[in-house]
Amino acid sequence: MMTTQILYALTGCVIVALGLRGALLHASLLQRIVAINVMGAGVFMLLIAVAYRGPGLPPDPLPHALVLTGIVVAVSATALALALARRLHAEQDDD
């Protein structure tokens, strides 16, 4: 059942690359935040692919817990980034 694991892991690498490219190239802040979230999703896919042990066998629970923690950390970072972007736009309109 290694092929499924490898298939998902390779897709994870592709998504990490897409996210990194987007994060470095985009000018608008919102799209850069979306790109970083996409890159995070790619890394999480790596972790979940590592945890997968095959269709019948129970997967390894540790990466699942790590990804859960990662998702919550990612959403809090996104929330702060969006608040900073909002404050920046508000400042731009004033002056």
Binding site: A9, V16, L18, R21, G22, L24, F44, L46, H64, L68
Partner: protein
């Protein structure tokens, strides 16, 4: 036959994930990019389900696609719509931010190289014998952990210190948002249809949050998914233009925000006083302590995610007159 269809399903699922990710990042229209990102999050939740990770699928759908999507949409909604919608293709050659072609190709090659080395290393890692040290240790100690769902056991018992710091990260984010200013003005009061949905949907969401919290001990679920469901109820109320969205006022709000980290720390330190290691629950009480911590964490996560959606500290609803609160024109 069965593995054949599974491979076809995997292929299609992964293709759609990569296509959605690429489409979301290729467009220069922010609105399209955010909506495609939400679709990407939902299809990703299907992928987690496929890889037998139901807890993560729940969290990805609720927090990854749901709440992050709501936050991003609220941010896009506030941004002034570009006057002349620049069609995405003519700005293609000039690049999203005017970078020359050389830089764009350099970054593409750099990311491709990163993906290549990552894949090369991963293939090497997978070829060596899979290390089962930790999964066996987890299933071995599961009985003493107080819960039967291994993911919750890892999150709330074996690696409880990680979750404590992660709740502190959530608290830091919302304190950072508070220091940047007041909440965004509310939304137009909803029409009859949306109001009808809210009347029916919000109680179901609250019940679901309670169920998710309870079921987390022995099946996929837990404090994070429950907190996200509760926050979703608040977001729906906010979108329906309600002024009271279930958040307490002033010092009560601060208590709820600090509840998650506070209860966790209190339990950890009191165990220390009883001679146990820090955060070392005695097996007899482990289940009850974990439920206590998860309840406080759920309330804290729900309040924090909702305050993040609000964009800051809500004015104390008592004194706010409807006239003073400037409403957005666009009704949802």
């Amino acid at each position: 036959m069965k593995t054949m269809t599974l491979h076809v399903f995997d292929g299609l699922l992964l293709l759609s994930i990569v296509a959605l990710a690429w489409a979301s990042l290729a467009t220069t229209d922010v609105r399209r990019s955010v909506i495609l990102f939400m679709a990407f999050g939902l299809v990703l939740a299907v992928a987690w389900g496929r890889l037998l990770a139901p807890d993560v699928a729940l969290a990805e759908a609720a927090i990854g696609a749901g709440l992050s999507g709501a936050l991003l949409l609220a941010a896009v909604h506030r941004q002034p719509r570009p006057l002349s919608p620049v069609s995405s293709n003519d700005s293609r050659h000039q690049g999203p931010n005017g970078l020359s072609i050389v830089v764009r190709w350099a970054v593409t090659l750099l990311s491709a190289a990163l993906a290549g080395t990552l894949a090369w290393a991963l293939l090497h890692a997978f070829s060596s014998t899979p290390h089962n040290m930790l999964p066996q240790a987890i299933s071995g100690n599961l009985a003493a952990s107080g819960v039967s769902n291994p993911v919750t056991a890892v999150l709330l018992n074996f690696r409880a210190y990680d979750t404590l710091l992660e709740l502190a990260v959530l608290l830091t984010a919302v304190l950072g948002i508070f220091s940047l200013g007041q909440a965004t003005p509310g939304y137009q009061p909803a029409g009859p249809v949306f109001d009808g949905l809210v009347h029916w949907l919000v109680p179901v969401l609250i019940l679901m949050a309670g169920y998710l919290l309870w079921v987390g001990a022995h099946a996929p679920g837990g404090a994070f998914q429950a907190g996200a469901a509760l926050a979703a109820a608040g977001v729906v109320l906010r979108l329906a233009g309600r002024s009271r969205i279930g958040l307490p006022d002033g010092s009560a709000l601060r208590i709820v925000m600090a509840a998650g980290v506070g209860v966790f720390l209190l339990v950890g330190l009191s165990l220390l006083l009883l001679g146990r290691p820090f955060l070392g629950y005695p097996p007899a009480w482990a289940g009850a302590l974990i439920l206590l911590i998860e309840t406080a964490a759920m309330l804290s996560i729900a309040a924090t995610l909702l305050l993040a959606f609000l964009g800051g500290q809500p004015e104390s609803t008592g004194v706010k007159a409807a006239a003073k609160q400037q409403r957005e024109e666009i009704s949802l």
